[in-house]
């Protein structure tokens, strides 16, 4: 039963990586879009793309934390005691990012848009780095079992954490660029599609280089993880690599479809590979999922909640993404349109928005 909950946890992590991760990545492109003039259009696209979906995507993180502390409380205690600093930074970054994104949408003056935009974009890079570093600290066995604190600094400032952090930022940026290509096409902005296609290509190569270099780091620094990646998790690694290359080829050819799906599978498979490589440990080589597991009653409740989530939340997500893709959730405007809802509304399509993560 603890295995089933561990699978639920992994699925939630994957969902957060490919949905929430792309929202963070969009922030990366926002950050690097250039000055107010040059960056206006990419930023506008980013805003419209993640506006309707980022909060729903963000809930995956809360779900992950809840599953972790409810089902594997000892592990959560060890993780929070050891990785206090990066988790606190991530929490703060999340507040800054969400709040400033919401604020930026509502203010008009350029000066304030720049302040909020900078806070949003900078924290969009900071948070995934911290998440990746946290994963690196856990995966390299630097979090001890038993609800005790490990090294407060070296647990997240270490070679594996650096690889994890940089890889997380790069993978998020890659996913976001791939999604934004599609969004730009749908919104009939071919030059923006090219803009993000170039960035998707560059970031795809960056991810591949970091991953390849990271393999050497892991071999030296995280033996258990490296062994897992080259044995149990090898199929997932291969799937990730093949899909990544496939997405790269399609992006290079400027294919109209397929790149996004392959890109998502590549990232999802990479996260799954981490999970498989780490199993059966929640804290590698010191605490297994089954040893850390809560009593059966709790695990049952978590699984029931997971099933309910599939029944209730998945259709909701599908609805949200379908509406979004069909352009039925246009950006909330600043102007009031009291009249055209009650009366005959013009049916022409102006702007539609959003990315479909799945």
């Amino acid at each position: 039963m603890s295995t089933a909950v561990a699978v639920v946890l992994l699925v939630a992590v994957i969902a957060y990586a490919v949905l929430g991760g792309a929202d963070f990545g969009a922030g990366f492109w926002d950050l690097t879009a250039g000055g107010p003039q040059r960056g206006a259009r990419p930023r506008d696209l980013v805003e419209r793309a993640i506006g309707p979906v980022w909060e729903a995507n963000h809930v995956w993180l809360i779900f992950i934390l809840v599953i972790l502390w409810t089902s594997f409380p000892e592990a959560y205690a060890s993780i929070t005691l050891t990785l206090f600093v990066p988790m606190m930074i991530a929490a703060l970054g999340i507040v800054l990012r969400g709040a400033s994104f919401a604020f930026r949408k509502t203010v008009v003056a350029l000066r304030y848009r720049r302040i909020f935009g900078a806070a949003f974009a900078a924290s969009s890079v900071l948070v995934p780095y911290c998440m990746g570093a946290i994963v690196g600290g856990i995966a390299s066995g630097r979090v001890p079992a038993g609800g005790v604190a490990g090294d407060p600094a070296r647990s997240w400032i270490n070679p594996t954490s650096v690889v994890g952090g940089v890889l997380a930022v790069a993978a998020a940026a890659y996913l976001a660029a791939v999604y934004l290509v599609q969004d730009a096409r749908r919104l009939d902005e071919p030059d923006m599609a090219q803009h993000f296609r170039r960035r998707a290509l560059v970031s795809a190569v960056a991810v591949a280089v970091i991953a390849a270099a990271g393999a050497f780091v892991l071999r030296a620094d995280a033996g258990h993880l490296f062994d897992g990646l080259t044995s149990r998790a090898l199929p997932a690694v291969i799937v990730s690599g093949v899909c990544g290359v496939g997405a790269l080829v399609l992006l290079h050819r400027d294919a109209s479809r397929g790149a996004r799906a392959l890109g998502v599978v590549a990232v999802a498979a990479a996260v799954a590979a981490w999970g498989l490589a780490q199993s059966p440990y929640v804290l590698p080589e010191s605490l297994t999922f089954s040893a850390a597991a809560a009593p059966t009653g709790t695990l049952t409740a978590v699984l029931v909640a997971a099933v309910l989530a599939v029944v209730v939340v998945v259709p909701g997500f599908v609805l949200l993404f379908v509406l979004d893709r069909r352009g039925l959730l246009p950006a909330e405007g600043l102007e009031d349109e009291a009249d055209d809802v009650l009366e005959e509304r013009p049916r022409q399509r102006t702007h539609s928005s959003g990315h479909d993560g799945a």
């Binding site: 919401a102 009593p295 949200l320 009291a338």
Partner: protein
Amino acid sequence: MLATSLDPLAITALDPLGWARAQMALTLMFHIVLVPLGVSWAFMTLIANYRALKHHDRDALMLAQRWSKYMAVTFAVGAVTGTVLSFEFGLLWPRFMDQWGEAFGVPFAFEGIFFFTEAIFIAIYIYGWRRLTPWTHFWSGVPIVVAGIFGSISVVAANAWMNAPAGFTTGSDGSVVAVDPVRVIFNDSMPLQAAHMLVAAYLVGGFLVASVYATAMLRGRTDRYHRSAFLISFSVAAVAAPIQMGVGDSLARWVYDNQPVKFAAIELVPTTSSDVPETLLGRLDADGTVSGGIPIPGLASWLSDPSTGRATVVQGLDTVPPDARPTVGQVNIVHLSWDVMVGLGTLLFLLAAWYGLTWLFRRRMPRSRLFLVAAATSGVLAVIAMEAGWIVTEVGRQPWIVYGLMKVEDAVTGNTGVWLSFIVIALVYLAVGITTVLVLRAMSRRFRRAGGFVDHDAPYAPSEPPTPSVPEQEEVR
């Protein structure tokens, strides 16, 4: 000694307990202001939306649209500040999570589903104005209200469990070996505590929104749009207020029966006795006597159990050893907060009664300027009352984090850097809080400039020159 106090490392060795408490209190008390808006504003928006569609009411429609845009901001801030709390349960109280996470966490597993639902449909509702058909759009808002209700019940269930831990078996080493999730969620304290918070969400949300429009009306913006906004929000609060009196009273009796020490702190009862006075204000002194305040003879006993009246015995603080009860300072905080909550709650109830009776007999809202002034302050007062209620629950439980089972000092992190995270969090929250208010005000000003409604010749003298507006609509009076 001097050498160590100058040692830069000394400051990093500060005891984390007080800082962790302060940080948890700060982040929770910040988040709890956004909760009522998340839970009840969608309901008020849907009332306006319904009116708009049913009666082709343009003012109501504009109201629903604008409210949904404000909601987008408050929901975002609420979502991220709520996330911080999930981190903090572990970051600040790792030993609590280690030992009790398997029970305490269960309600949150279900809360996650409601939060997902809320986040999904709030996005559809906020962004769907222009493209969904009007009634489809209206119905997309309904799940927000339902999920908001069940979500807040789930969270309060977890807090209630800390007051009335149940649904688990511990082994010989004190660790939890079996959990009954149903009994965890439906613990003894949950029904009344959840009802109290849920009604509070509607009460505070209603008064908070209404107070903004009362202020606008005092400034002379008494057009139909502003009156509609006020009527909808104030009516919600006015319905909630009397219900809250009843729920709060029942909850107080539950505390009397189940958490006698908290009750003793609330009523300022140092030693067990009957005929206990209800002391308004006043304080407990270090020697265990009560000084100051206005005692109302026998009222606390009578309220605790009217069937035995003034003969009702109220357990005193001295029935448990000092290390199992709140400190004198904490007792005074609890008692003062209690007085503030009940006092403000009563004032708000009277305000609601004024409004209700005027409707009943005159079929209109009160016209007096005093009423509007009171209504304009009601939002802040309601928030203060809610925060005071939160303090009563949380500080009144001290020194326990899990009532009778685990003390706060045994739950806290050993991490000595909490003082720093507290300072940073305090600064960030201060900035976010101020900015939220400024952003909402800026939105409101922009909406006003955009026009869309007409200033009436007000019965109240405008206190600022009327803003230029573009008359678009018929005046309806």
